[in-house]
Subunit: 369 residues, 2 copies
């Protein structure tokens, strides 16, 4: 073999996979899941309007979509009251997180994030040679002051905050975040992942101030908008940052059907409100199911609920395995002390019926061992 | 402003855009194109089967698609008689080219490609700090021996070859390429972009030998398969290379509708054959139109024809501007000596009628100036 060597960064990378998909688990089990409650997808799906637009768009799929994503960016910029030059569209937030790392990280750079938080961000940091400095949660909330201090101590370039947070569903208010942002350490960029903000009270989102070059907001059509398969995310930031994304992004990377569907979904805010109500009802029901089984939950602003299985991580793993055995796809954090929780996505009544029954049996099994 | 600095690579990058999209041109003109013949899209579109599958898939768009792209990779691997571990799926070939650069290029690394060849590859090389060494065409074909020599002289890591080539449509036979590959300089990886191979005689594609770690084959559903908007490309290579892609790719980056549609399109090879016939008829017609206007063309194996406008680059630019003025979207290379050509994608009869009429007028204008 005489191919060129991989870069030193690549050579040093372990074979990492951010999340095993439910399809791989189904292949391994030889059986489909009955309730898909592990990836925080929104089973209620997008609006009828968005569905119709996407069906209609199939015939035009012989065309590349507009590499400037102009119509979608234009709609997004009006929605958020920013300029179109403050908006970049990517292949989900994941794609934009990878590009952000490419823009800022040189090998050895420090990045601060909460321990047990979004592993895909971690994945992208490592792929660019960065080093993740983990900060523990404080009362199951991301520790803003602690992260800022760690960033100062380690001269970190990036701080990753998800608000609401996954896997716990907790959040800070927009006012609290804005005050914290005004005091961010110099030379630090805040990666504010707002993937779950659409299911939270409006007050949790700080106003987007695009004159502040220290903050990038990330949003997605994958969660409340019910279009995870479309892979459309966007970032809002200072024009200089957005211009830098244009230097490295895959200009023709956005699929056409998703791009048109996302714009239609954004236009249908009354549908979004109705879905958020359904998600809220599902959150209440998941908490009730947990309580009925003697378990506690963390109040969630996101489209899932973290359930404390009441013992250690090993016990929670047994509960999770019991759910999966009973055809319920769910996930759990692996980092202590979060590892004693399981995370269950909001679903329809029939999904949660399956979950309820499976949880009873899984808990009985786990407790009897 | 106290954000962290961009990396030195990013700071040094000029604001580059690989290709201005036709939508941007339409916005600037304030008028839609009548014939979309500039991006080598396939107006004949995908098969009815693939269209039906994509329409059906819209309802499932609330789900992420399988991050392992298992079903699609499985179908691709069977089609090419390779293992599934030799296949990676990406957001078009463009996405995979970017990842390839990330795997191999450290700042200052040399990459060899034909002058005037695919600008998007150039874009990705620069975004990773690489240096492109251009090699002129030889009789409008990529100069394989010349490129190998340049790679030896500059100790280049990558050689980019497109077969058939864009923008000229010329190609080498599979046998010629295989002989050349067997003698590739040590330490060089061949990026073999076969985006246009499906409209060429089958003999132009060298057999995929996945035991050879020096070659990566890139294929796409954007051209002959008629699904440019779906953004599904794939690469076939040695297992070690594919495993490396997994270390850096956006695992959840592939849209679900496109993934399902691509598999359906691959299954419908008889439809593909019928489309390739239509494309061949369009190639003949474009050449005839050129001949009727006293212009020469280069024999093309791709889904477009390069037309020699007979004078210099400036004259060809006037012809192109005349086409665009008359609502025909076409493109032209900007690098001499290719710059005296315009490139016209295959289209339906009605598209080529519009082109024929516009060409007459555009040529008359250009010649009268």
């Amino acid at each position: 073999m005489s191919r060129p060597p991989f870069t030193p960064i690549i050579e040093a990378l372990p074979p990492l996979v951010p999340f095993i998909g439910p399809e791989a688990m189904e292949r391994a089990r030889g059986r489909a899941f009955q309730a898909r409650l592990g990836a925080n997808e929104n089973v209620f799906g997008p609006s009828l309007h968005a569905l119709a637009i996407m069906r209609e768009a199939v015939n035009g799929n012989w065309m590349y979509s507009d590499p400037e994503n102009y119509e979608l960016r234009s709609a997004i910029s009006k929605f958020h009251c920013v300029s179109i030059d403050n908006v970049v569209v990517g292949e989900g937030i994941d794609g934009l997180l990878g590009l952000t790392c490419q823009l800022f990280i040189v090998p050895g750079d420090r990045v601060v994030m909460t321990q047990g938080s979004y592993p895909t961000f971690n994945f992208h940091v490592l792929a660019h040679g960065g080093k993740v400095v983990g900060c523990p949660m404080l009362d199951f909330k991301e520790d803003l002051q602690g992260m800022a201090q760690v960033a100062r101590d380690t001269r970190a370039k990036l701080i990753y905050v998800s608000n609401p947070n996954s896997p716990m569903g907790t959040c800070w208010t927009g006012a609290e975040l804005a005050r914290w942002i005004s005091d961010l350490p110099k030379g630090v960029l805040l990666i504010l992942d707002e993937a779950y903000c659409d299911t939270a009270p409006v007050g949790i989102s700080p106003i987007m101030d695009t004159s502040n070059a220290q903050v990038v907001h990330y949003r997605t059509f994958s969660k409340a908008y019910g279009m995870a398969g479309a892979r459309i995310g966007y970032a809002i930031a200072h024009v200089d940052l957005i211009a830098a994304f244009d230097k490295v992004r895959n200009h023709y990377g956005i699929n056409r059907i998703g791009q048109l569907g996302a714009r239609a979904a954004l236009e249908d805010q009354s549908y979004l409100s109705s879905v958020v109500q359904k998600i809220d009802r599902a959150r209440i029901r998941i908490s009730q199911i947990a309580t009925d089984h003697g378990l506690r939950t963390v109040a969630s602003a996101a489209s899932f609920v973290a359930i404390d299985c009441g013992h250690d991580g090993e016990f929670a793993k047994r509960v999770l395995d019991g759910l999966i055995l009973r055809d319920v796809f769910a996930r759990k954090p692996s980092v202590p002390p979060l590892d004693r929780f399981i995370r269950v996505s909001c679903g329809r009544d029939e999904d949660l019926d399956v979950f309820e029954k499976a949880l009873s049996a899984a808990l009985a099994d786990a407790r009897s061992r």
